[in-house]
Amino acid sequence: MTHEPPQPADPLSPRDAAAVDAVLARRAGEASPHDDSPEQIRVDAILSLLGTTKVVARPELVDVTLARVQRAAQRPSLRLNIEDEPGLHPEDEDALDALVAAGFDPVRVNSTLRPRAAKMCDIGGMITAVPLRASPDLTERTYSKVASLAMARPAGEQFAPSGGRFRFTDLVTVAAMITIVGAVMWPVMQSVRVQQIKSACGANMATIAAAFTTYAGDYRGSLPVATASLGTGKWWDVGTSRSNSANLFQLPKERYIAIEDLACQGNPRAIKACCVKSNSDWGCIQEVSYSYQLMFGPARPIWSGEASVILTDKSPVVMRAVRGQVIKPLENSANHCGTGQWCLSTDGSAQWATTPQRGEDNIWLPAFLDEIIADARRRGASGVFVPAVTLRGNELPASARDTFVGP
């Protein structure tokens, strides 16, 4: 396709040319002679043809245009360019460079620029101060996602059975994958659950501490005691109302705490509801979740007194002793899968301990057994050597400072 060269325009006659000039000047608002000559009338008529159109603006056109303008105005990326942003005062620029070079320590900036550098640090402090608390399970959620991903097959190795049918080998592969993923994920899931139980027990400790505080306020600093002497029984005889757990049971019985706040999620036999009015103790040792300082000794600890452990996760040593098994003094509570135990002190604080040994004091054992173990350790070649010791259920703490909990 070829384009024809533009044809030269036909020249206007001098009178028509003058008429066009006059009409355009008049339309532009300029003063011009208006003589309504035939030439001007004709030019007017011809120009009027250009303005005739049947196009009518739709009423929404204005709204749509306005909306687009507003949207554009609200987009920083369209509205702003870095070049449009303000610059820093030259001395501020120098101060900022010096501050960055000084590792954001204004003291290391030279004295001339130091006030400006300090001001920049103040601004930074304002920006970085965020009154924010992460969701309690954020770490666990993040960790679980990464752990799940770590177990997944690498990308590009998608499982796709050929021909749209499963073959026997595919089924075997799927079964193997399920087994492997299950085997690998189990410890991960178990770890998540242990963390959850640990958090729940930490909350229980806070509730129990509050209950002890109220109880001690009502009983001149004393801690719950149901019976004054052990008699001929054993303090692990739960359900007889002469056990040590009956002492702790005073808290729910006298409505200082709900029975469910004394239940650890890690104890599958823990009871969360019972008629605390008509009972004086848990039904059996398996229902008990926390071990309480034995309160039959010569001197009982008092609340808010000298800090000593008063309550812990359930003692594994007592459970072994009750079953007639050899005890393991360094074993951790079964409440948290042997990872550790909470220890609530008489000052109201709770600590997570990964070993029952607190210096020379083992929280599961009375002082005389602690000494036997310490002696044996001193004599033994290995640092983890523990002699065979046993409990009979009538041992008592040597003093209020001797932590010895049960059942």
Partner: protein
């Protein structure tokens, strides 16, 4: 007590020790979350990006150069994830109605600062224990940050949260050293100017604030 570095923990993770990765997550949880909150503007979004960042760190573990530091690398990943998050959300940044609308001229129309240079000594910053409510100040700061272009906000937060040198920032962001300098200058000036405009617009004069600070 044994306190392995981030890099040692990450190397352990690369060898399959997931517990090392948990320690890294716990160690960086608070700082990184605050950084992301400032970057994306809301806690739910910040927590999403937080998780995405650690997932990406896990996926890209093999690309990490053990000669480098882990923390800047993690923050750069987080900044990129935050950018993706905002883009996916289709939110260039919803401007707070109280935020300055005209980035270039607000100060010219009454905040008293020069149109071309921002003098930081004219900017009032409430002390941390000021009478002005801390949460309110934090919201105002967030509003100003939200109104800033992403590139400026990113470099400002990376600089203040990470305390990196220009060379390190240039290295992490992969941009020229000169650009880092000019961009950070511009970011500080923009923040200061808009912060000043925010205080002025809300009728909080420097004198008022100082009066609030007095016991």
């Amino acid at each position: 007590m044994d306190h392995p570095t981030d890099e040692v923990l990450f190397e352990k993770h690369r060898r399959g020790d997931l517990n090392a990765f948990r320690t890294l997550i716990e160690r960086h949880q608070n700082d990184l979350l605050r950084f992301l909150f400032r970057l994306v503007g809301d806690q739910a979004g910040a927590e999403d990006v937080f998780q995405e960042s650690f997932l990406q760190a896990h996926l890209a573990a093999h690309t990490f150069d053990m000669e480098r530091r882990f923390r800047p690398w993690l923050y750069t990943i987080a900044a990129n994830k935050a950018r993706d998050h905002l883009r996916k959300k289709g939110r260039r940044k919803t401007l707070d109605l109280s935020a300055p609308i005209d980035g270039g001229s607000s100060s010219d129309s009454g905040d008293g600062s020069s149109g071309s240079f921002m003098d930081l000594m004219e900017v009032h910053v409430p002390p941390p224990d000021a009478g002005l409510d801390r949460a309110e100040t934090s919201e105002q700061v967030q509003s100003v940050l939200d109104s800033m272009p992403y590139t400026l906000r990113e470099i400002l937060l990376l600089a203040y949260f990470q305390r990196l040198s220009y060379v390190q920032i240039a290295d992490e962001l992969g941009i020229p050293l000169g650009t880092v300098k000019s961009r950070l200058h511009s970011a500080v000036a923009t923040f200061a100017k808009r912060w000043k405009a925010t205080l002025d617009r809300e009728g909080v004069s420097r004198d008022d604030l100082e009066a609030d600070d007095r016991p």
